[in-house]
């Protein structure tokens, strides 16, 4: 019994990190229909900027994290104007090639500027201890991640499903011409949505850095992980991404507790089984 509870606690805590680092991709890829293989690049940029602010400038953690996210949003706005705008609506393979090329350039730039070693993002003092949950002690850091993940999921859901922005975004994606005829500035909506996706990537990169440390090869090293979460969740569904991230987190954690020697195989076979039953993902739109 206690092992089941431990799996659940650890799995959910890990799953929330998966959610944080991949929800941005769910926005760009699911809502905007851009195969964005450079997603991890925005997490890398956010992490690298936060690292600079934290270590080189000695700013407090929260300020550094904020600067990292804002800086990434700024980079994303520029890139959206100069680059992504030109690949919306192109065939999938061209988008794959274009965003991989961009990811290469991001990696090369960070590598040139900061080298290829791990970029330290030490958590602040108050995040370092652990809390006792009875079944299991949980690091405070994970508790913060759980809270942040839940808050982001809720805010995003409200934004996409309930706000005017969400309506405009879905209108712009579904039929850009009709949307602009209705007076929606589709260009600005796209830019805002893209910046949102990139900002979430940066936040996820920074908050997840205790598990997936920031380094130049981050975008390609964890690309498969991002794709899995989005695919299992179902394209374009925030709730689906959350469900998928938690499900994969629990699945992976269960494998590590129960069959560690076959952990990776178990994880992939489990994923395949989920997708066999739900080919469009857990909550994918038909």
């Amino acid at each position: 019994m206690s092992i089941l509870l431990a799996i659940l606690v650890d799995g959910v805590a890990y799953g929330m990190i998966l959610f944080l680092i991949s929800v941005g991709l769910s926005v760009t890829m699911g809502l905007m229909r851009v195969i964005n293989l450079a997603h991890g690049g925005f997490a890398l940029i956010g992490g690298a900027l936060a690292h600079l602010a934290l270590i080189r400038l000695g700013l407090p953690w929260a300020v550094a994290a904020g600067l990292g996210v804002l800086g990434t949003v700024a980079v994303a706005v520029v890139l959206e104007r100069a680059f992504y705008r030109h690949i919306y609506g192109r065939p999938e393979l061209e988008q794959v090639l274009a965003t991989v090329g961009l990811a290469f350039l991001m990696i090369a730039s960070v590598n040139l500027a900061l080298g290829s070693s791990l970029l330290a993002l030490p958590a602040p003092e108050w995040m370092r201890g652990s809390v006792d949950l009875g079944v299991r002690t949980l690091p405070v850091h994970r508790v913060v991640v759980l809270a942040a993940g839940a808050a982001i999921a809720l805010a995003l859901w409200a934004l996409v499903e309930r706000s005017r922005f969400g309506i405009r975004l879905r209108a712009a994606v579904d039929d850009a011409r009709a949307a602009s005829a209705l007076g929606i500035d589709t260009g600005r909506v796209y830019a805002a949505a893209f910046a949102l996706g990139a900002g979430l990537a940066a936040l996820g990169g920074i908050l997840g850095a205790e598990l997936l440390p920031i380094e130049a090869y981050y975008p390609l090293r964890y690309l498969v992980l991002f794709l899995f979460v989005v695919a299992v969740g179902g394209m374009g569904s925030i709730a689906g991404s959350l469900a998928a991230a938690l499900a994969l987190g629990v699945l992976d954690t269960a494998a590590r507790y129960l069959v560690p020697d076959f952990g990776t195989i178990f994880f992939y076979l489990g994923t395949m089984a989920i997708l066999a039953v739900r080919p469009r993902g857990l909550l994918g739109r038909a």
């Binding site: 690949i87 393979l93 690309l223 195989i265 066999a276």
Partner: protein
């Protein structure tokens, strides 16, 4: 016209043995990669199956050929056939499970297959040597020709296999199956309505292309005389896909052009500045996306038409 071009390419490849006799090891790797990318073109370009897992078949062919050389016979041609058969088998079985899926789901499933096989290669170290790799076999002469230090035999061997596989792919593209596949790529629902067994057509081409990828893997295992789990790597699948899109999909020549260009840029840019060669590749990729979105082959088309 096409035949003339094919023969010119073949003659050019042979000529390289005299022009750059000291680069044959690198060129052999290019040929093997072309074969892998060619197999990918059948899957992605002709049938429209999105995959990031072609390394699954490459690795299966490589391990099968290596195990065959180690335990059964070091004769290369039979090893090649064994590698192809093993890879085609893996492609058939995994294809049965995969090919009902579409888009991102399909992409993720193909990745998962390669990852599972890689983990098996890593785990079953009594059979596969694990992460240290499977080596310890030396290839017997190929039809009486020793595998020499210069790599001449290896180069001719890879070139011969590639030429045969290319001819096969060409025949396949023009066959009823090839035409049906194009129809499926363009309008799957209509083909289905016309009574074409879409799923089985896809499984067939996935299996055949898997065999070609297995040939590439077997060639790699035989010329390197060592296989490691890197043969199943995601990065190999991804690079092959990049090369294919660079060259242009669905054209067969695109596989040659894209692979040669990518590997040449890597080879020479990495020689000039190994730490920053990714800039060169990234710039090349973006240039192609924006200047020749249908791949480099389309540039050649434009030039020919003029």
């Amino acid at each position: 016209m096409r035949l003339a071009l094919d023969l010119a390419l073949l003659a050019g490849a042979l000529g390289l043995m005299w022009i750059v006799p000291d680069q044959l090891a690198f060129l052999t790797r290019v040929l093997i990669m072309i074969l892998l990318v060619l197999s990918l073109d059948l899957v992605v370009g002709f049938a429209g199956i999105a995959t990031l897992g072609q390394a699954a078949m490459f690795g299966s062919g490589a391990y099968a050929a290596a195990l065959f050389a180690l335990h059964v016979s070091a004769e290369p041609l039979s090893g090649l056939v064994v590698g192809m058969a093993a890879a085609a088998g893996v492609a058939f079985v995994s294809g049965l499970a995969l090919l009902r899926a579409k888009a991102l789901t399909l992409l993720v499933l193909t990745i998962a297959v390669a990852e599972v096989l890689q983990e098996v290669a890593n785990q079953a170290d009594t059979v596969t040597g694990g992460a240290d790799g499977l080596g310890g076999y030396l290839m017997a002469p190929l039809l009486g020709a020793e595998f020499d230090l210069w790599g001449r035999t290896g180069y001719l061997y890879a070139l011969g296999v590639l030429a045969l596989c290319f001819a096969f792919a060409r025949r396949l593209a023009g066959s009823p199956l090839g035409l049906a596949l194009r129809g499926i790529r363009e309008a799957p629902d209509r083909m289905h309505a016309l009574g074409t067994p879409v799923y089985w057509r896809l499984v067939t081409v996935y299996t055949l292309a898997g065999g070609l990828a297995g040939a590439a893997g077997a060639l790699s295992a035989q010329t390197t005389e060592l296989v490691s789990p890197a043969a199943f790597d995601f990065s190999l699948s991804a690079e092959a896909l990049i090369m294919l899109i660079l060259g242009g999909t669905g054209r067969l020549y695109g596989a040659i052009l894209g692979t040669v260009l990518f590997m040449a840029v890597h080879h020479f840019a990495a020689a000039v500045d190994p730490f920053n060669w990714l800039f060169a590749i990234g710039a090349l990729v973006l240039a192609v996306v924006f200047l020749a979105p249908a791949g480099l082959v389309s540039l050649a088309d434009r030039w020919v038409r003029r």
